[in-house]
């Protein structure tokens, strides 16, 4: 008879769990892998049937996503002369010349400004509100908290038309400030509630100790509470950033030129010069990088954050 543990999973359970995890990982990672692979294919490889798993990698997609190109006739090409740079050479193979930069870099910058801007604002306002709700006797506290939560109860897009009209009359249409404001408003309820949970877990004695030690309430807040809440702030920031970064519907509706973010821009690559899938894939791949870097930087906090408070130490 073999001994067995009540809490330790058995060998079979471990195998089952392992297969489940690996299977799930494959399902979620495969599209990503495909996008990244496509971004390195040539346009003809990208639409080849049956799909090509092995192909000759090229950075044409990346060049295409950053540039606009023009097709020239033989005489014109000769007039332009030999291609100078590596990317000139790359497009010249197809008889094209680079006529200028595309708007991708600009849209990408917009995404960074709006995504990180709204995240910072969300965290600053959310932490302050969560601290107040957690520590002070705010009149109608529970009602206010419910109101804040209730803003999350319908999909934000349900109020798209009122917001569109409001933005138009306020002159916020297609501005960075407008988009930052909008994403902050949508995310703030999440940030207040998440952060309140984290701050509730920090014993009030730490602040009291700081008050006794001669610090003001505000000093106690940023010297003692904030470092303790770092975990919560990091995970909340990731959630806020992911939403603002990926948001598509409002971005399509409210931005067109000046403040357009990358999500509505990337699909417009199709059609400018045919169905340039590698360029789309390259845009999408690049678009993934900031969130990935941000998440990896805060990974340690995030993992602790998700399970925080689950077990009392």
């Amino acid at each position: 008879m073999s001994s067995y543990s009540v809490t330790e999973p058995s060998q079979r359970q471990k195998w089952f769990a392992g297969i489940l995890v690996v299977g799930y990982a494959l399902i979620t990672i495969l599209p990503l892998v495909w996008i990244i692979a496509t971004s390195f294919k040539s346009p003809s490889d990208a639409i080849a049937y049956p799909p090509k798993t092995f192909f000759e990698p090229t950075v044409e997609g990346y060049v295409n996503v950053f540039t606009t190109r023009t097709r020239l006739s033989e005489e014109q090409l000769q007039a332009v002369g030999e291609p100078q740079t590596w990317y000139d050479k790359l497009v010249r193979k197809d008889g094209l010349v680079i006529s200028g930069p595309s708007r991708f870099a600009e849209r990408f910058t917009n995404s960074v400004i709006i995504g990180f801007g709204s995240t910072v604002l969300c965290i600053v306002l959310g932490t302050a509100a969560a601290y107040a709700f957690s520590r002070f006797k705010v009149p109608l506290r529970d009602d206010l908290l419910f109101f804040i939560l209730s803003t999350r109860m319908m999909p934000p897009i349900a109020v798209a038309i009122p917001i569109f009209l409001m933005f138009r009359s306020l002159g916020l249409n297609d501005t960075h400030a407008g988009m930052i404001l909008l994403y902050t408003a949508v995310n703030l309820s999440l940030s207040v509630w998440l952060l309140k949970g984290f701050i509730d877990e920090i014993p009030v004695e730490y602040e009291e100790a700081a008050l006794i030690d001669g610090y003001t309430r505000f000093q106690a807040f940023y010297k003692v509470v904030l470092p303790q809440a770092a975990t919560g702030i990091a995970s909340t920031a990731i959630f806020c950033l992911i939403f603002a970064w990926n948001e598509y519907a409002f971005a399509v509706l409210l931005t067109s030129g000046n403040a357009q973010t990358a999500p509505p821009f990337i699909p417009t690559i199709i059609g400018v010069s045919g169905q340039d899938w590698p360029a789309v894939a390259a845009g999408a791949t690049l678009f993934l990088v900031p969130v990935m870097v941000f998440t990896i930087l805060l990974r340690k906090h995030l993992l602790r954050g998700i399970t925080f408070g689950a077990v009392r130490k």
């Binding site: 009291e208 100790a209 003001t216 303790q228």
Partner: protein, 365 residues
Amino acid sequence: MAQIRIQNVRKEFGAFTAVRSSSFTIEDGEFFMLLGPSGCGKTTTLRMMAGLELPTSGEIFIDGEEVGMKPASKRDIAFVFQMFALYPHMNVRKNISYPLLSQGLRGEEVKSRVAEVARILKIENILDKPVGGLSGGDRQRVALGRAIVRRPKAFLMDEPLGALDAEFREHMAEELRALHDRMGATTVYVTHDQLEAMQMGDKIVVMNHGVVEQFGKPQQIYDWPATKFVAQFIGSPPMNFLEFEGMIGVGGGLIDLGGIMVKVPTSREGRAGRLTLGVRPEHVTFVSDGAYRGRVSAVEYLGTTQIVTLVTGHGELKARIPSSHRVHEGEQVGLEFDARTLSIFDAETGKVLLSEGNEGVLGHG
């Protein structure tokens, strides 16, 4: 160091009154115990001294200055929390030096003050460790270090030994008391453990339901309790209460306990009706020919002494007698009470009647 004076302090939390009209004075350099059961208002009183709660009414004087409405950071006192509340993101050295930084001290001064405190508390070897991995005793020492490093006007401690193991608590209590004697700092210490209060305190305030029941030296409180609550809260086992109908006049020295006359300290107050005779267990002696008798119902052996539970005509009574005295369950024994140590309480109000014995302690009040 400073004297702390509490005057008519009252604290309400909404409809709940945590502290009603408390007044007492803590003299400079005293080790002062705030004692009472949980929810009696002792911690609230301490927190009002610290400035962590503001009194609803009344005044608090520290060093002659009224501080009732001042923020904690302006009162120059140190507070030791039950859970220590060491800053978890700082190591031991930073924790201890943190109060100094708020005073604007820097560099060498901070270093030497921290080193001095570390030497006093014998924690030099853990100064650079994070506080997370410390043992309970070391955490306690670091918390004390953070308190004493700034040389405050007073130390306020909220059950600082409550989070420690029983065996370690005793050791730490001794250390604390020794530290206090060495520094001579005014210390206010909250506890619900009467033994701890008796063992460490110069003076004790006993609180119950937000009211100060009695205030005095440990022995005075033990010997001459002002109320039945104090008599029962202090001492283990507590004071015995023998309920009886009777009377005692001013200058009277005898009571009629079920037909048996019992000598008591000469009374300074007259009262008739339902009264309670209070007897400490160690003031009961067994005599073969005593008129007042009881039947032994249980015996607890405690080493040099034993606690004998007796059933008498006025209820259960516990006696503490030497273990050498052999008693058996069911045995009938004669009892005698040490006449100089007895207290008589008014059973209705729970207040003690003034007598020759307690007038020196309870005086005018």
